[in-house]
Symmetry: C2
Subunit: 235 residues, 2 copies
DNA sequence: ACAAAAGTGTTATACTTACACCCATGT
DNA sequence: ACATGGGTGTAAGTATAACACTTTTGT
């Protein structure tokens, strides 16, 4: 036990721990919600599937570490991320005692550094087909999915999974994937448009139909107004 | 860097951190929601207000540490607790870099070890009158309160704040305190009783009126049936 | 002309909200 | 007898859920 200025250092008598962060990275493509998983090229557990993770460094906050880890894999910055908690069972990492703070991230699946991801052996896997992952990563995924489900119903975070311009059929299929449920087309559109937080453009997406679907844009200013008027985004 | 069996130890090159847990302890008394806070008798920040906390030890999970810290203050075991996350800003504890996992606990305010709590300088403070707390503890409290609000509306956790037997006026005033809002007596009772998860007893609580209010008991078995039938607790 | 997805309104039902009086009992 | 909190039902309004046809356009 050390002393400084005559007082016992109250910290040094305690244990210190390795702390990691793990990222549950959601993307959306062709009607299915996916996770960016790693086929590990390194130990421990080489060859197995896992979330992208990394150790916390002395000079960074936990949030910053999560952002760094995400950026290391995808090249992306300023991504929507939420902490889902810290996992600290004694034997969660059989190699050593490591605590892990889990975060989920929502990214636009066609806007990230593909070479970089590939260099880490990263693969998009449909949320319905997640394999066995190392440690407690499956548990993290379950919790992240549950939180996404809950939060997406009540805050406009789904848009982070789409390009800036999106169509209403696209949006509906996104929410169907998140909620794991089908939605009525007319009711869905009515409800969303009634909130008046979208800007309709003149452009159409003709990749899915001859007729084409109008592109919309989420309008953050209108959303702010909505919230200030005491209302909420809700599906 | 050390080697074992010829492989480099992948962990040792990383930093290690002090990890604390802090408990936001909710109680309910006479129509107001309260927190059990500590007037610190020790450094750092002697004399200031804080949450009850403690350091994580090598041989315990984070959840177990939270339970231990709660027990150290209240003598209670098997208490309803939820982790709200880990806080890891660089300077959150000005003395040293310490990460802290925050948990909230719901306890029955007239069932804990009062001498023990007193020996730690613990005091019940109405949630509406929380003073400035050390570090980021006010932030933890805000988040805990928000989560309690959200979760109490949708899961039957409020009962943890009441004795086994409670009256409907009591229950209503509890939910009013949690939601920070008044509720209509008739609608409240209708909704709750419609879920059919209460057992009405023959006993009455006459401490608040001449007539007396019937004691009820939350019935976990009936609640399980409710959930299995696909319905949910909801207020 | 036809196939395929986009777009559009109405009605029935369930849920939510508002609201006022009688009851039981101790003093 | 009266003061105090406990207990009860109904009606109006609002939100949700169910449902089917027309439009556009590329082939």
């Amino acid at each position: 036990m050390s002393e400084t200025n005559g007082i016992v250092n109250l910290y040094e008598q305690n244990d210190r721990f390795y702390v990691a962060v793990d990222c549950i990275i959601f993307g959306f493509h062709q009607g299915t919600l996916k996770l960016l998983l790693i086929k590990r090229k390194f130990d421990p557990c080489m060859g197995e599937w896992s979330l992208m993770g990394g150790f916390l460094n002395k000079d960074e906050s936990i949030d910053a570490a999560a952002e760094r880890v995400l950026q290391d894999l995808t090249g992306l910055e300023n991504v929507y991320m939420e902490q889902i908690g810290i996992f600290g069972e004694l034997d969660r990492d059989p190699g050593e005692r490591v605590l892990s703070a889990a975060y989920y991230a929502l990214i636009n699946i066609d806007d990230y550094d593909k070479e970089l991801a590939e260099s880490h052996n990263a693969v998009w896997v449909p949320i319905t087909e997640i394999p066995d992952l190392i440690f407690d990563h499956n548990k993290m995924v379950r919790i992240a999915q549950k939180q996404l489900k809950r939060k997406a119903a009540v805050e406009p975070i789904g848009f982070n999974l789409l390009p800036e311009l999106f169509t209403l059929p696209q949006l509906q299929s996104l929410y169907e994937a998140i909620f794991g449920d089908t939605l009525d087309k007319r009711n869905f559109r009515k409800k969303l448009l009634a909130m008046d937080v979208f800007e309709k453009t003149e452009e159409k997406d003709k990749s899915n139909s001859k007729r084409g679907a109008y592109y919309y844009r989420f309008d953050y200013d209108k959303y702010t107004e909505l919230v200030q008027s005491g209302l909420r985004f809700a599906l």
